[in-house]
Structure formats: structure tokens, C-alpha cells
Symmetry: C2
Subunit: 122 residues, 2 copies
């Protein structure tokens, strides 16, 4: 099961806030804010899809994510790689590195991450 575009947006807010009440979620939307019922609907659907849970605090619901952003995102990317890059993460990585024109600093950072990874392999 996957989230739709708008659900994803809401999920992002939730990840950022870690946990939130209706009100908090509404707040983070820029004007023109969607109707509160719209958010409610989305939250409901997301609960049905098992992406969101909540705790009762008094009688308010404090919502929180049931999947981590990392996890969600990793799956997402995996799908992309499968569809577009022959299921080869490396192919994807080189495409990405070549197309996304990173700054020198960014490249250096990346390089050192890769070097770390290489060291761990040993």
C-alpha cells in the first residue's frame, strides 16, 4: 500500500513534528490552508493504510507516524531503481551523480562517505 501525493505531504509534516495534534498539522500548511475536514479525511485514510497511529491525550488524538521516513523513502527509491535502472542501485547512483550537478563541497562530502563505506567493507 502506498500513500498518495497529498497524503505524502501530510506525512512529511508528521515526520517533521514527530507527533502532532490536528491543530498542529493544520498550522504547518501555508495559506490557503485546506479545510480541517480535508486533513481529517487524509489522516483517516492514512490510518487505514497503517501509516499513522495515535495516542489519546485526554480526548485529543496525538498522531504519530508508524513508518519512519527513512524506511518509507528507501522503499520508494527501491521502486524507482527497479523501474528505471534495471534494479541496479549502482547504475542509479552514477546517473544521479552525473546529472544532479553537485557543488565541489558536496562532492567532497560524498567522496568521504564513500571512502568510509569502503573502509567498513574491509
Amino acid at each position: 500500500m502506498k500513500l498518495s501525493k497529498t497524503e505524502e505531504e501530510l506525512m512529511n509534516h508528521l515526520w517533521e513534528l514527530k507527533s502532532a495534534f490536528m491543530k498542529d498539522l493544520l498550522e504547518v500548511y501555508p495559506d490557503p490552508k485546506p479545510a480541517a475536514t480535508t486533513i481529517s479525511t487524509l489522516l483517516k485514510r492514512m490510518q487505514d493504510k497503517d501509516f499513522v497511529g495515535y495516542n489519546l491525550v485526554g480526548n485529543m488524538r496525538q498522531y504519530f507516524p508508524l513508518v519512519s521516513k527513512d524506511n518509507y523513502f528507501a522503499k520508494h527509491i527501491k521502486g524507482l531503481i527497479k523501474n528505471f535502472f534495471n534494479d541496479s542501485p549502482a547504475q542509479f547512483a552514477s546517473f544521479f551523480t552525473q546529472k544532479s550537478d553537485l557543488s565541489e563541497d558536496e562532492l567532497l562530502t560524498l567522496k568521504s562517505i564513500i571512502e568510509d563505506q569502503l573502509n567498513q567493507k574491509k
Copy 2:
């Protein structure tokens, strides 16, 4: 305008074939193949969205992509990065490099790509 999931799948076939007749497209689908009309519908919608064009060859249409895979994909990723990584390609890159556990060879390849990029910066 974006392609839907199934349209994307079809587009992938088209990118692979470079250009193709109905028949060719149907062929690449694994059993159980979708109805030919389903493909037709998709192609039509993709034409409406300006992702596909065709040349008449005799009275057959030879379809071809109007956007490159690279291009399409780059946009796609850009969206992801915007949504999930604060619009920072570098942040994305490091997330990816850390989570996708690449083999030593793959890491080495990546490293040399990055070094090339760095050299070009000078």
C-alpha cells in the same frame, strides 16, 4: 503533467524499444497481457499529455517517446529530493549511499565518478 504508474510502465517499454508499433508494445508485456485496447487507451492518454508521439508508416503508427528517460527521471528525482530531503541533492546522495548497501566494486565505481566530477570542476 505526470504519468501514472501504468503509463510509466508503458513508457519504460517505449524507451527501451526506442520506437514501436502497437504490436511490439503488446509483445513485451508478460502474460497475462493486458487487452490491446488498454494499451491503446494508455497511449492515447500519453499523447494527450505530450509524452508520446508517432509517425505514420503506411497506415501503422510508430510510436516514440517525446521525453528522454534521463530527463523524465531527473524531474522525478528532483521532486523526491524536494519533498524528502529539503531540496538538497547532497543530503539525498548521502542518505542513498548509506542505505543502499552497495558492493565494494560499486562503491569504487562511484568513487571514480565522483573524482572525475571533481576534476572537471577545476
